[in-house]
């Protein structure tokens, strides 16, 4: 599989973060505040072995494209290091950098944009050879281009050499983009959504081609996609990202067949099934992805998680606890307040806040009967333990008085979850457990014990 080398890691990502908008902007100066950066990638550590095909999956904004760009050194990490074949790519000399460029290539999503419309196929594909000083004169380079084109099944290549991108179909263009990446015989390719612009009937050809070329060129691939079916088809290992974190990493088949992290589970629940006779349950996730400028504390998924972990002494149901935490998160987001109270209703203001705050924004099949976002939820249907209800009522009174900090503190005093207080350890190797306290609780004890 790998090109002669022994087993070992090719790429080591170590504690890498990438923040955008870290500079102080005009509005920041105006309001005398610190800039709030977008935390696109946060503290990611992953090892990619030689010959691996690693998928990076997640929804838009999860940081997968940023991570891909970091891997090919299009961005400098804000923190952490990336080593490629033992070389720190964040501190390369110019010779090292040109060696790196010869070994690492990227295939972009949009073949309509990644190829210069005024350059012929030959000019486009020969360019990386020229830039990297590979090949022995014009005719040798032309020959290499022809071989690369034939490898991507654009045959006979001579008929394509003088064509412009505008004369090619989408599938042909993406093949040219792949030929351009392959022509310098790289070791490592990062492909970012390489087929998402292509029609279904053409897609399969490009996917198969990428698979076949992996053997032929001894490539290591990182395949970035939001499409979980493609990830499954193409990759051996998969990293799932959420709000800049890698939350689960493992063999693709295992992740698809028995996803562990509640977010991964939700992702797969949401994939439509091709079998029209199946009845699928909708994903039981609360609300929407929060902003990457201000991600939730602890596990970033905790405000949406159907499996948030109550404290050990919680006596109510997990559903009631999830609702209590929803209430808490609405306070943190300042989404719940005096404006949600209707003075003309008979229910007390506190009752109204509770009823609204305990609602879960989930698909209908996961709601309680009669529950909806506008009416709130029937308090009797939520089995809050008396002391929890008391805490929430105190918090509601604080909110009505405008004191959110006190309200949150009141809830946290007895009912804080490990999911919001502690960021779970993230996986760095495929055998590591997911970044979820459900799987980490026992192991987390060990290092603490060692420290003392």
């Amino acid at each position: 599989m790998a090109s002669g080398a022994t087993d070992g890691s090719l790429v080591e990502i170590d504690g890498v973060s990438k923040y955008f908008d870290t500079a102080v902007s005009v509005t920041d100066r105006l309001f005398r505040r610190d800039p709030v950066p977008v935390r696109a990638v946060e503290d990611v550590s992953l090892t990619i072995e030689e010959g691996d095909i690693v998928g990076i999956a997640g929804e838009s904004g999860c940081g997968k494209t940023t991570l891909g760009n970091l891997l090919v050194n299009l961005y400098d990490p804000t923190e952490g290091t990336i080593t490629f074949d033992g070389m720190d790519i964040t501190r390369m000399s110019s010779e090292e950098e040109s060696a790196f460029r010869r070994r690492v290539q990227m295939i972009f999503q949009d073949p309509f944009e990644s190829l210069n419309p005024r350059k012929t196929v030959l000019d486009s594909v020969v360019e990386p050879l020229r830039i990297n000083g590979i090949g022995d004169g014009w005719s040798d380079r032309r020959q290499r281009v022809i071989e690369a084109l034939e490898d991507v099944e654009l045959a006979p290549a001579e008929r394509y050499l003088d064509k412009f991108p505008g004369e090619l179909s989408g599938g042909e263009r993406q093949r040219v983009a792949i030929a351009r990446a392959l022509v310098i015989n790289p070791d490592f390719i990062v492909a970012d959504e390489p087929v998402s612009m292509l029609d279904v009937s053409i897609r399969a050809g490009v996917l198969n081609l990428m698979k076949d070329l992996q053997d032929e060129y001894g490539l290591t691939y990182v395949f970035i996609s939001h499409d979980l079916s493609l990830i499954r088809y193409m990759t051996e290992k998969t990293a799932i990202m959420y709000l800049g974190d890698v939350i689960e990493y493992g063999p693709t088949d295992e992740i698809v067949e028995s996803p562990k992290h509640p977010y991964t589970q939700s992702l797969f629940e949401a994939v439509p099934k091709v079998d029209p006779t199946l009845d699928r349950q909708r994903a039981n996730v609360t609300g929407e992805v929060p902003s990457a400028r201000d991600p939730p504390a602890g596990c970033k998924f905790h405000p949406r998680c159907p499996k948030i972990i109550p404290p050990d002494d919680w006596t109510g149901s997990q559903d009631a606890y999830r609702r209590l935490y929803q209430f808490r998160y609405s306070l943190i987001q300042r989404d719940l307040g005096p404006e949600d109270v209707d003075p003309d209703t008979r229910a007390s203001e506190v009752d109204q806040l509770l009823s609204r705050g305990l609602v879960l924004d989930v698909p209908e099949e996961h709601r309680k009967s009669g529950e909806d976002l506008r009416e709130g939820v029937d308090l009797d249907a939520v089995d809050l333990p008396p002391e929890a209800e008391e805490a929430l009522r105190d918090a509601a009174r604080n909110v009505l008085g405008g004191d959110y900090e006190a309200a949150i503190e009141r809830v946290d005093r007895d009912f804080e979850s490990i999911c919001s207080s502690t960021h779970p350890t993230v996986p760095t190797m495929p055998e590591d457990p997911p970044a979820c306290h459900l799987y980490l609780e026992e192991t987390a004890e060990a290092p603490l014990a060692e420290q003392s």
Binding site: E59, S60, E153, A155, R159, Y160, S169, G171, D199, V200, S201, I202, R203, A204, G205, V206, L207, N208, H226, L228, S229, L230, R232, Y233, D253, V256, S266, L267, F268, E269, A270, V271, P272, K273, V274, D275, P276, T277, R280, R282, A283, V285, G287, E288, D361, P363, E364, D372, L373, R374
Partner: protein, 384 residues
């Protein structure tokens, strides 16, 4: 009960210096009341053009060349069995009205169409799920839609209706006074749906409603669309390239390719009993989350150009089973069961499983061969 009957509909785009583009040709299918009907196909297959032609929303250079789009249920009192009331209600005497009270949408004048659009069929355009104007109040945007299509409604009535619509689609009525930027993504999508329902239409056409959405968001949009159908009892025409979304949402499907409807049937028929070489090819070309191991098959070649296409079956060039007859003319939609038995019937019932293929007598063989890679790659692909 039939709500919309597309009969041999052809749509052409006129080009300045080059031959016309025959974007849709001889499409025919029916959509029943309360049904979810899907138009599925790759880019350029004509699905969006077909949807737009029903509402006379084609670009300036596009026109319905021939055929009709018969629509029922304009107003209950028009259904008197003779079509006379419909005739009366429509000012233009040139609009064809059938004895069953159905009238041809393609013959409506611009003025008539403006009255009809939104009241009877509304459109959720491509990309609109994120397209509320952030600087207007959401309620005002719905009011605008109502007042534009029902000028006789008062401002006050329209506001009340907007609040009611939001409520019915699962949003607090008071939120009508919020600006769109104050809405969460899911609420915006529901508000867009409320806007489509503003004038209580019989049918909604949703063009790629989930394209470019993330999978969990898509899940929520599909949920909202389902709620809409339950709440308003409306027919839905879904236009999408996403095969799995269509499998899950639609009752019946039309598979389009190169401007032609290649196969029509219930969703179960299309997926479990596919009867067209193009559908067979598609089925083996996209990965499924449940399956591993089997290699995807690509269909060599590319979709045909629709500028002045030749008479052949649109798929013939890429079809492993094409014979001489396939190059002589595009096949009509045959009744699949009858054709399998060797009695191709050109006048197949609109509700049966139909397929545009001359070779349905060897369907079983085609199905078997379609799963083998060699079948699709008999000849090397050539550049034209």
């Amino acid at each position: 009960m039939t709500l919309l009957e597309i009969n041999d509909l052809s749509v052409t785009y006129r080009m300045d210096d080059s031959p016309d583009v025959r974007a849709v040709e001889d499409a025919n299918f029916v959509v029943d009341r309360g049904e979810t009907f899907g138009l599925v196909g790759e880019s350029g297959c004509g699905k969006t053009t077909l949807g737009k032609s029903i509402l006379a929303l084609l670009d300036d250079n596009g026109e319905v060349e021939s055929g009709e789009a018969w629509f029922d249920g304009l107003l209950p009192e028009w259904e008197d069995g003779t079509g006379a009331a419909t005739r009366e209600a429509i000012e233009d005497p040139d609009v064809p009205v059938r004895s069953d009270g159905m009238m041809d949408l393609t013959a409506l004048t611009t003025r008539e169409m403006r009255r009809f659009r939104w009241n009877q069929i509304s459109l959720i355009p491509q990309g609109s799920m994120n397209a509320l104007n952030p600087v207007y109040k959401v309620g005002d945007q719905i009011v605008e839609a109502i007042r534009l299509h029902e000028p006789e409604t008062t401002e006050e009535e329209a506001h009340e209706r907007a609040r009611e619509l939001l409520e019915r689609i699962g949003i607090d009525r008071e939120r009508a006074d919020d600006y769109a930027h104050e809405f969460s993504g899911g609420m915006k999508q529901r508000a867009v749906i409320a806007m489509a329902m503003a004038c209580d239409p019989e049918m909604v056409i949703a063009d790629e409603p989930t394209t470019a959405l993330d999978v969990i968001t898509q899940d929520r949009v599909l949920d909202a669309i389902g709620d809409m159908q339950d709440e308003f009892d409306v027919s839905l025409m879904m236009i999408s390239h996403d095969i799995s979304v269509m499998a899950e949402t639609c009752d019946r499907l039309a598979v389009m390719y190169g401007g032609r409807v290649m196969e029509v049937g219930t969703t179960v028929e299309i997926f479990e009993d596919p009867a067209n070489p193009y559908t067979l090819g598609l089925q083996n070309s996209f990965p499924s989350i449940e399956e591993t191991g089997h290699r995807l098959l690509s269909i060599p070649g590319t979709p045909p150009t629709l500028q002045d296409p030749d008479d052949a079956c649109r798929f013939a060039e890429r079809c492993p089973w094409a014979v001489q007859q396939c190059y002589e003319g595009h096949p009509p939609n045959f009744d699949v069961e009858a054709a399998k038995a060797g009695n191709p019937n050109r006048e197949a019932d609109m509700r049966t499983h139909r397929s545009a293929c001359y070779r349905l007598d060897m369907l079983e063989t085609m199905r078997q061969e379609a799963t083998e890679e060699d079948t699709w790659h008999q000849e090397p692909q050539t550049v034209r």
